[in-house]
């Protein structure tokens, strides 16, 4: 039988994920219809404000505004962010084709990444009135799903502490400078009653009717089809908010206001992170616009699996840049991220290439209605160290050897079911080359849909020049907390990988021989230089939580040694090995629920940072690390005063400089 693999000639790739999306007729991202316009995140060689204005230093293409729409927010940066050079945009398919060959575009756009869309609204031309924050205020900002702002743990007195909330897939009232979502404000505006008034108006017998508040603000639309995370009893965002900043409304200072950015439901549902970067960057810019005169700490409890892991992804560099610019402008600013929970998920492979091909076995599960992806990241020095690779399908069909710059598809009967894109980074000084292996879903109900075979796909990698280390990650493809079953996580298989010890416990150390590694599973949006990354541990014995991911991070091209071996610190994410998660707010007042993972550890550090900012104390990455190592503060335990019976500190690759146990979120008199 002839092979169904073939090499495509003349493919110009400006973003491998866009190439795959278009090659498969937008079937897996836009339901099979060409959306005409695509949301992206961009890395620019010039300030975003200059880019948005069109004064590029050389004439832009005449039709550039038809190709690229940049939210007005980026054209109007708050003081200090004038030099910020990352932005989001909406672009045409034509843009992707022209970027690699149009010198005018190439001169200003270093790289782009595709994102999933939400419905957009016309941009509102509203003047942004300056905001008067109380003197000494510190803002805690949360970027998450399902933000239950009316929860009693998030009030000051009877008012919401939330000053501004951008629900990114709410309807028809975008914040100034953006064209999607719903912005809610605490105070009334000309256009709508504020959150404060809605809560006062919907208080009955002393109880806020939170359902009614969310319904009337349109923050939660019960009539909407699909998943409504804030309608559920437990929601990730509300829990994280409570951990980061929840307090007794009777005693909390009015100088601790909140800002929320609720990511689109689709962004959370699609755990492969296809749209995360774009919405997080918009969210951060929104927060920065609202906090021009006040310190702020942002918690982003989201994570992925695949990525460069050297701090070079567009989002990571954007976060680093914004943190630096904001601090240079004299304002305290920090971003806190979770280390991730995929330590034991067998999604990372690492090996050294040789003359003999190294086969990696990628076990793709049946009944997965979403595509699956592997990213193979090559070393920073592409000149001497190239690889070539070939793929074997579970049906035994082997591709030819695929080399740098090539794109191959597997198209057994009409539709493209697999694609391999050897992507050459356009800016080798910043990012590395990457091979994307993309697979169609293994299940589909759509009429006429063809599916990829489930089973073992073998990726054989061979040196093609000097030998080198290759890291491969399977992209996240599981189902987010509380969401309906969507993706199914595939994994690498290797008989040399030991999952259990002789007593049946899950092993947390790598052996010397398996290419499947626990190390290096750290959240790939959390390997930047200035963001703070938090792993998870047990409250009971201070052991690492089994799933809490670890470093090392990879040495970034052209930027010296890695900043960190992995996470910066650990905080409590589980009560004990048997009692997963920690207690904090459920979706509605008066309820407490358990949630686990590094998502709930990170906000404890966010809380500490906010307190430090309020006291004018050091709060950055270094300060957090030093505090974990040797610090002391009322209510906190660190490596300087661990509880009796605390396990020895886990390796730095998982625990950074040390562990922090913060004051409990729920009254400790509640038995646990």
């Amino acid at each position: 039988m002839p092979s169904a693999w073939r090499r495509l000639a003349g493919v110009r790739v400006s973003d491998p994920y866009f190439e795959w999306a278009r090659r498969t007729g937008f079937r897996y991202f836009w339901g099979g219809t060409d959306p005409q316009r695509f949301p992206v995140i961009m890395d620019l060689t010039i300030p975003a404000a200059v880019f948005e204005s069109g004064k590029w230093g050389h004439p832009p293409p005449r039709d550039w505004r038809e190709l690229i729409e940049v939210p007005r927010n980026y054209g109007d940066p708050p003081p200090g962010l004038e030099a910020a050079s990352f932005c989001t945009a909406t672009v045409t398919a034509d843009f992707f084709d022209r970027l690699p060959v149009d010198p005018a575009l190439r001169a200003v756009i270093r790289s782009v990444e595709l994102a999933l869309p939400v419905a957009s609204e016309p941009e509102l031309l509203r003047a942004l009135r300056p905001i008067e924050w109380p003197a000494g205020a510190v803002v805690t900002a949360i970027i998450d799903d399902a933000l239950g702002f009316a929860h009693s743990r998030l009030r000051v007195g009877s008012e919401p502490r939330m000053e501004f909330l951008w629900n990114q897939d709410g309807p028809t009232r975008p914040p100034p400078g953006f064209n999607y979502g719903l912005e809610l404000r605490k105070q009334d505006t000309a256009m709508a009653p504020g959150m404060k008034k809605q809560m006062a108006d919907n208080t009955f017998a002393g109880l806020v009717d939170e359902d009614e508040v969310y319904r009337k603000t349109r923050h939660l639309r019960y009539e909407r089809l699909g998943h409504k995370p804030l309608a559920a009893r437990a929601s990730h965002g509300t829990h994280v908010m409570d951990v980061a900043c929840g307090a007794d409304p009777a005693t909390i200072s009015d100088k601790r206001p909140l800002i929320g950015v609720q990511l689109p439901v689709r962004t959370t549902a699609d755990t492969s992170g296809g749209s995360l970067a774009r919405y997080v960057l918009d969210g951060i810019r929104y927060i920065l616009r609202r906090t021009t005169k006040v310190p702020a700490v942002v918690n982003v409890s989201y994570g992925l699996i695949a990525g460069p892991h050297d701090g070079s992804s567009i989002l990571e560099r954007a976060l680093d840049q914004l943190i630096q610019l904001r601090r240079a402008a004299g304002l305290a600013f920090a971003v806190v991220l979770p280390a991730g929970n995929h330590f034991l998920s067998r999604c990372h492979a690492r090996f050294r290439t040789a003359a003999k091909a190294r086969p990696m076995r990628w076990r793709v599960v049946p009944d997965d209605p979403t595509p699956s992806f592997v990213e193979l990241w090559l070393p920073r020095n592409p000149a001497g160290a190239k690889v070539r690779l070939r793929l074997r399908t579970p049906t035994g069909d082997v591709s030819g050897w695929i080399t740098e710059g090539e794109t191959w598809v597997w198209q057994p009967a009409g539709q493209v079911l697999a694609e391999v894109i050897y992507y050459v980074a356009p800016a080798p000084g910043i990012s590395r080359n990457m091979v994307l292996v993309a697979l169609a879903p293994t299940a589909s109900d759509a009429a006429g849909a063809q599916t990829a075979p489930a089973g073992t796909w073998t990726i054989e990698v061979q040196r093609h020049g000097a030998p080198c280390w290759v890291d491969a990650w399977i992209q996240r493809d599981d189902t987010a907390y509380g969401y309906p079953q969507r993706g199914r996580q595939s994994r690498f298989e290797d008989e040399a990988y030991e999952r259990f010890d002789e007593r049946g416990r899950e092993l947390e150390v790598d052996n010397a021989i398996s290419y499947v590694r626990r190390e290096g599973t750290i959240n790939p949006i959390a390997t930047g230089r200035h963001t703070v990354t938090v792993g998870g541990m047990h409250y009971m014995d201070w052991r690492a939580a089994r799933s809490s991911a670890g470093g090392p991070v990879i040495q970034p091209p052209g930027r010296g040694a890695p900043n960190s071996q992995g996470p910066d610190v650990m905080a409590v994410s589980e009560d004990s090995p048997a009692y997963h998660g920690i207690l904090a707010a459920g979706s509605r007042s008066g309820s407490r629920v358990r949630m686990s993972g590094t998502s709930v550890a990170a906000p404890q550090v966010t809380r500490w940072i906010a307190d430090q900012m309020a006291n004018g104390q050091p709060y950055g990455r270094q300060a957090v690390s030093q505090f974990a190592q040797a610090g002391a503060a009322p209510g906190y335990r660190t490596e300087a005063n661990p509880p009796p019976g605390a396990a020895p500190k886990p390796p730095s690759r998982r625990s950074g400089t040390g562990r922090i146990e913060g004051p409990p979120i729920v009254d400790p008199r509640i038995e646990r």
Binding site: F204, A205, G206, L207, E223, A231, A232, G482
Partner: protein, 334 residues
């Protein structure tokens, strides 16, 4: 056991000594109710309630209307034949077909919560007594009369709601789409009005009035919790896939009205309010919003809806038998 009793008696009875002196029990005296078993009382009380009801179809303001009436039947002393002066309790007008078409989308939207509401939905298949006894602190030993009274109110709601369902048959969501797939066996009666909503709001209202009568210091928080509970039960039926939100709206109106009527019949002199639910005026895309008909701050019924009408105050015939039960319930709750 019977044989043992026979032989035992033979062994100890001795010679026959005639009757012990006794007085006749008073006729038609409510205090005799104490002597009967609960099921007997229930039959007596139900007779008292249901014999005063009538159901009719009529055209009102050009709309095909169905009304349950309080017959207000009584007889003058010495004149055995009763005379009736019927008073309206509640009128329902069925929503048009287009409303159900639109409401189906809401049923689909609410299905998102099925998984996490499963335990509640299953626990609420039959009248969910555990959910209101928990709020009002009821117990079979300590508050037996209250539980008997609530049973009676439930019986009234059940009879009236089923009569309306028979008259105003409406197809269940699963008949409109094969994709609704309810998570429980769909009941074999009409969707409109919701029986669960009718009963839950009847109980919530009666219990609130009872608690308040027993202890006037009980504030609106008790009413608020009881009504939130009733709403949750009603909404759970939509989540399960067997009711449209409009069914719950009609059920709430009917339940609160029957509750008020029931309390009036128990307490004697005074009036209750009669109401109309006009399904043709129900906004087709609207979800169930219980606050349109009840103010949680005052604990009073209100009408801020576009689809209900207050028809007016009506006198209700007191029932000494029902009063007997009410007073006992109030006393044990004090």
């Amino acid at each position: 056991m019977a044989e043992a009793l026979v032989k035992h008696r033979e062994g100890i009875v001795g010679e026959w000594r005639g009757p012990f002196p006794f007085a006749q029990l008073a006729k038609e005296d409510p205090d005799n109710l104490d002597r009967w078993e609960p099921w007997v009382r229930n039959a007596v009380f139900s007779f008292e309630l249901h014999t005063q009801l009538f159901f009719s179809r009529h055209v009102e303001a050009g709309k095909d209307s169905f009304t349950v009436w309080h017959m207000n039947s009584r007889h003058a002393p010495g004149a055995p034949r009763p005379a009736s002066q019927p008073r309206r309790i509640a009128t329902l007008i069925r929503p048009p077909r287009g409303t159900f078409r639109r409401q189906l989308r809401l049923v689909q939207a609410w299905s998102d919560l099925r998984e996490e509401r499963t335990t509640e939905i299953l626990a609420q298949l039959t009248p969910p007594a555990a959910f209101w006894t928990g709020i009002a602190d009821l117990h079979p030993d300590r508050t037996r009369w209250t539980l008997e009274l609530l049973d009676l109110a439930l019986g009234l709601a059940g009879a009236v709601e089923q009569r309306f369902k028979q008259a105003l048959p409406c197809r269940r969501p699963q008949e409109l789409s094969p994709q609704i797939q309810p998570m429980i066996l769909c009941p074999g009666h009409s969707a409109f009005p919701s029986g669960h909503a009718t009963e839950a709001f009847t109980i919530a209202y009666v219990l609130w009035r009872l608690l308040r009568a027993a202890n006037p210091a009980k504030n609106a928080l008790w009413a608020e919790q009881l009504m939130r509970q009733a709403n949750r039960v009603a909404v759970n039926r939509t989540i399960a896939g067997v009711h449209y939100p409009v069914d719950s709206a009609a059920g709430q109106l009917l339940g609160l009205t029957l509750g008020e009527y029931f309390v009036r019949r128990c307490r004697g002199a005074g009036t209750y309010t009669a109401w109309r639910f006009d399904g043709t005026r129900y906004p087709r895309n609207d979800d169930f919003r219980w606050r349109l008909l009840f103010n949680g701050n005052t604990g009073l019924r209100v009408n801020t809806s576009a689809f209900c009408d207050l028809v007016g105050a009506q006198p209700a015939l007191a029932s000494p038998l029902l009063r007997w039960l009410w007073d006992r319930a109030v006393a044990e709750l004090q």
